[in-house]
């Protein structure tokens, strides 16, 4: 039998009696309920066709489907714990399976079974908090009612402990014993109460990564580790220029290698936005194995001719930015204009100016782009390392014309995303090649392709000017930013291209009475796309360094400058809704300052630096201590305080915060993507140097502020304030103000 509990307008909780007496509670699209249900006996472990979130088996085992792809963000652990807590499950009996894309056929159009399915964009936890708890709560309510019937005791006199229902007289029934009866309860209880926070057993308690054992034994499979028995392998050589054309191609030396099957040309579809089609013209070598395909690629005699983009360079783009910002030309968009900047300028007691330069960056995900695909008369089956399987679906659907229920997209754990896997050019390539060769196929990008053919983060120039009055208050803040928008060509209207580059609410907007934010668009054909932590990362670097420069101009402690700028405890409204709670911002700032002994700021031989930021509902501050011996910089200490509201998994949060801190420091210290004659000059991690163990601090001290508000996502919130805290500490220890990243190169140049 099955029944439904009201859940939301679009989706319903559904209860099914599974095979062998299991209780299954799932979430289905409302429309799906009208379709003929799959007989429960046929379901087996195939949760994806049910849309199940939780299944309780007769042996007491609990299986939970994790909805959002885990790229290292910890959602495969934290989302199931949100459900398991409401269920009062024994976490040691919980197994987690990554759910594939949940899609059903709604008269030929796709209907998403689980709502939004996205990883690494910072909203998995807020969405899960909103909708996943009900699945666990419903299962728990049904199990309690079944226990009440069997024990002859009213449900409200029973208590639950780790998957066992306990009666007042001490009689105990495990969830497994109750599952079959619970699945038959009708009608379903409504409304389903959610727990009061003081009854949480898992939420707020630390848990290690659910896949840890599989990972340390090499058993956890990534997309690249999935196999179809007879799949061939495609390795690509892309044109260095997105508008390049083939000048010379001699396939013969590649085809002469035994096991090399074919050489196929691919071209982008100019009608499609970036990320939905091939990234640049390419030649694919198809072979029986990866090793043979790589040899085939090496053997190709291949030359490309540049198109118009062949004259581009990152150096010229920076010059274009500098001259735009130095001119009187109107900005592409006036993002915000509070008060009257021009009037405030006339009252200037002191004016501070600075310009910051940040380079182009790659995603450099550990697991290179890949996709395993099989297309036959029944449909398409794909393993895709995607942060957004619904986007991957639309790429597959467009190329194959298959119906929604013929496209099966499976997700494994993913070797890093950082925004790169929100785009699906590699999926388009895999599908096109599988169609051409009519065989199951694995697409594999070697490292050099991965780094040289990315949707990069644009380099940017921030020109800041502030007016400080006689009472040391910043009364005007004028910021002019030039960059190439990540949204160009992606169906975003030209007056909204700035949204990937600056935020209307970024600090100190709302804290300075006369505030202006202008954005200038740079034109470039270098591919660009989403990057985790953007636009906060580049803007926080510039703004948090600039506040330090204001403090220096005022000859005062930068902590005092910051605290004065933040001001008294109050709510500063955000455009578009919500508000910044200044008390929470001040709190994280003071926490890191106390921990790093900020009172020694003036006397310390080592340099101390601070920065703080507000991002996606979270408050974050960094304090960093660096030492200097001749031309050697050492990051001695890093402290980070975060306030994300309620913490789901403190250990997971700490890992995300420490990890994002190290990643942001790594990105700031060394690497840059440079383009010359339209060609990316970096081809591997050797010339795109991520920080080594030795360059990074030995520990990151994370302070978590306890909270009760709805939880914010945590995956990249600690990125924005890390690099400016470092640059501010470097200034303190060396008296060299680094206004250009990567930091090490510039610091050594200025030293």
């Amino acid at each position: 039998m099955s029944g439904q509990a009201g859940f939301s307008r679009r989706r319903f909780l559904q209860v099914i009696a599974g095979t062998a007496g299991a209780l299954i509670v799932g979430i289905r699209a409302a429309e799906a309920a009208d379709a003929a249900p799959i007989p429960p006996d046929m379901l087996g472990d195939n949760l994806s066709s049910l849309g199940a979130y939780v299944r309780i088996d007769q042996d007491g085992g609990v299986l939970i489907g994790a909805r959002d792809p885990d790229t290292g963000t910890g959602v495969a652990t934290s989302l199931p714990r949100i459900i398991a807590d409401e269920l009062d499950a024994d976490w040691l009996r919980v197994r987690v399976v990554p759910l594939g894309l949940g899609v059903i056929n709604n008269n030929g159009a796709p209907r998403w079974l689980y709502g939004q399915q996205v990883g690494g964009t910072g909203n998995s936890i807020p969405r899960a908090w909103h909708d996943l708890r009900a699945a666990g709560a419903l299962a728990r309510t049904l199990l309690l009612q079944a226990a009440a019937q069997q024990l002859g005791v009213p449900a409200d006199r029973l208590r639950v402990e780790k998957g066992t229902v306990i009666a007042p007289d001490g009689r105990r029934l495990g969830y497994g014993q109750l599952a079959a009866a619970a699945a038959k309860i009708s009608p379903l209880p409504s409304p389903i109460p959610l727990k009061a926070p003081d009854h949480y057993t898992l939420i707020g308690q630390p848990a290690g990564d659910i896949d840890a054992l599989g990972i340390v034994t090499g058993r956890t499979l990534y997309s690249l580790d999935q196999h179809f028995g007879d799949a061939v392998v495609a390795v690509l050589a892309h044109s260095p220029w997105v508008d390049g054309t083939l000048d010379q191609l001699d396939k013969a030396p590649a085809l002469a290698i035994k096991g090399v099957l074919d050489v196929i040309e691919l071209k982008p579809d100019p009608k499609l936005p970036p990320g939905q089609t091939v990234i640049a013209p390419a030649v694919a070598v198809i072979a029986e194995t990866t090793w043979l395909a790589l040899q085939g690629r090496r053997a190709l005699k291949l030359n490309w001719k540049p198109g118009a983009s062949g004259s581009e360079s990152t150096a010229a783009l920076e010059q274009q930015a500098t001259s735009l910002l130095g001119s009187d030309s109107a900005p592409t968009t006036r993002v915000r204009d509070d008060g009257d900047i021009d009037k405030a300028r006339r009252k200037a007691a002191r004016r501070v100016d600075a310009t910051y330069y940040q380079p182009w960056l790659a995603h450099a995900a550990s697991e290179p782009m890949n996709c395993l695909v099989n297309i036959d008369k029944n449909g398409a089956l794909l393993y895709v390392p995607s942060q957004s399987p619904q986007q991957a679906y639309s790429v597959v659907q467009r190329l194959t014309g298959l119906a929604p229920d013929q496209i099966d997209i499976r997700l494994s754990r993913i070797g890093g995303g950082y925004g790169r896997r929100l785009d699906h050019d590699y999926v388009a390539e895999a599908v096109l090649l599988a169609q051409a060769i009519k065989k199951p196929l694995r697409l594999f990008w070697p490292r050099d392709e991965d780094l040289a053919h990315d949707y990069y983060r644009s380099g940017c120039v921030h020109q800041f000017s502030a007016i400080v009055d006689a009472k040391r208050h910043v009364i005007a803040w004028n910021q002019r930013v030039a960059s190439a928008s990540a949204l160009t060509g992606r169906g975003v209207s030209s007056d909204r291209l700035w949204t990937s580059e600056v935020s209307v609410n970024q600090l100190p907007a709302g804290f300075v009475p006369n505030y202006r934010s202008d954005w200038f668009s740079l034109t470039s054909s270098i591919p660009r796309g989403p990057h985790s932590g953007m636009p906060d990362v580049t803007n926080a670097f510039a703004a948090d360094c600039f506040i330090d420069e204001i403090a220096h101009a005022l000859k005062e402690d930068p902590l005092d400058t910051r605290l004065r700028l933040i001001g008294d405890p109050r709510l500063v409204p955000l455009q578009g809704g919500g508000a910044i709670d200044t008390a929470r911002l001040t709190n994280v700032l003071k926490l890191v300052a106390d921990r790093i002994n900020w009172k020694d700021w003036l006397r310390s031989v080592n340099g101390l630096g601070l920065a703080c930021w507000y991002i996606n509902g979270a408050y974050v501050a960094h304090a960093i201590e660096v030492s200097m011996q001749n031309d050697k910089l050492t990051i001695e200490r890093v402290v980070c305080a975060v306030d994300v509201g309620r913490v789901i998994n403190p250990k997971g949060l700490e890992n995300q915060v420490a990890g994002a801190t190290l990643d942001a420091l790594s990105n700031a210290l060394n690497p840059a993507i440079t383009v010359k004659d339209g060609k990316v000059q970096q081809s591997g991690w050797k010339d795109y140097p991520l920080a080594s163990m030795a360059q990074l601090p030995n520990s990151v001290e994370v302070i978590t502020v306890p909270g009760e508000g709805d939880p914010a996502g945590a995956s990249f919130i600690a990125m924005p304030s890390a690099a400016p805290a470092l640059a501010n500490a470097v200034f303190r220890v060396s008296a060299v103000r680094v206004r250009r990243l990567p930091l090490m190169k510039e610091w050594l140049r200025l030293l």
Binding site: D448, N655, L662, D663, W685, S692, M693, A694
Partner: protein, 177 residues
Amino acid sequence: MAQDHAVPAQTGEITPVAIRPGIDLEINGERYRHTGDPQMPLLWYLREVLRLDGTKYAGEHGEGGSDLVLVNGKAVSSIGVPMSKLSGKQVVTVEGLADSKGKLHPLQQAFIDEDAIGCGYCTPGWLIASMDLLNRHKDPNDGDIDTLPNLCRCGCQTRVRSAIKRAAGVMKQGAKA
């Protein structure tokens, strides 16, 4: 081979089939003979022939270290070593770190206990490099740990450092007992 069976020897005797020449090596305690291209890098032998997928592709030059394996106890980039150089060698991959009964090595347990995992793609390489380090230094200090060649985009380095120290402590205790 099929032909050998199709035409049975008329004498009724079994004709011995010549042993296929190849490269004999030991991987995770088991003996293997590679009969394919001697120039094939170990990485592709592990992943595509044996489907031991724990060792991850790092880059054409092993950048980042996720393709490290132990060859005779030393960490080696598996894409950089052709099968021809492995005759008689003992190879250990991440799948071979636990003992034959599946009991985790203290280093694996320490990685779990310290949650020294981001996306996990580079973790096998960190484990192998750390094993190599612990083979050389029973009690590695921060300077020793700084020499690890691995890279990680998720920022798990501080937890790896803690895990190595934890494992060294556990192994010292184990040696005393």
